[in-house]
Amino acid sequence: MRGIPTVVITVSPDASRQMRPPRALYPRGFKIGNSLGRPGMADLQRRVLADALGLLTAPPAPGEIVERDYPEYGTDEA
């Protein structure tokens, strides 16, 4: 049975890590509900998606969660 290559974009990296995903991207600081970014931030969403796709051709590192910073996401007011 052949598999299907996958990449997970996770905003719950501790939970994802338990399943040792084959490829995973954690956009640091993005909240649950904002996996690709905030509404209307098309450039940011596209960049996060492109980074996730980039893991398909990156050297294999199964179980590792790649963390990236996207400063334009900003922070949530408390």
Binding site: R2, G3, V7, V8, M19, R20, L49, L53, T57
Partner: protein, 142 residues
């Protein structure tokens, strides 16, 4: 969870240039078309079904039914959990070869983890493999 945490997801090599690859989206964020049956969030055990979404779907025709995350941002812009417009743009730019014929939404909150793992996940994989012919899948939660 101890049974689940002993498993890991097998690694399948990706064996082609990205710009020749067809990509599908699978989200646990409860995304579905407005004309499809919503996920049953009244079921305490969780809804084990999934919905298929075509590549040309209008984002106005998509919605979220999910009671375990704040999806108010996804309600405004579905791309934050299901980036179908962004995927179409990357295909138009030639970054990826194409957008798969079929994408999947399901409702990932479940008290029936074993059934989700044993039934729903393989059914989604089968749909992606046969119906979508995708070369790779991008997974999102919410």
């Amino acid at each position: 969870m101890s049974q689940m945490s002993r498993r890991c997801v097998p690694y399948t090599p990706f064996d082609r240039p990205l710009d020749r690859a067809t990509i599908a989206l699978v989200t646990a964020g409860g995304v579905h078309r407005r004309d499809q049956e919503p996920f049953n969030i009244a079921d305490e055990l969780g809804d084990l079904t999934f919905r298929t979404i075509g590549p040309e779907v209008e984002v106005a025709d998509l919605m979220v039914t999910h009671h375990h995350y704040d999806h108010s941002d996804a309600d405004r812009d579905i791309n934050v959990v299901f980036p179908i417009e962004r995927l179409r743009e990357l295909a138009a730019e030639g970054v990826i070869g194409g957008v798969a014929k079929l994408h999947v939404g399901y409702m990932g909150y479940s008290m029936q983890l074993k059934q989700l793992y044993d039934q729903t996940a393989p059914a989604i994989a089968e749909e992606i493999d046969r119906g979508s012919r995708a070369d790779a899948v991008i997974l999102t939660g919410g």
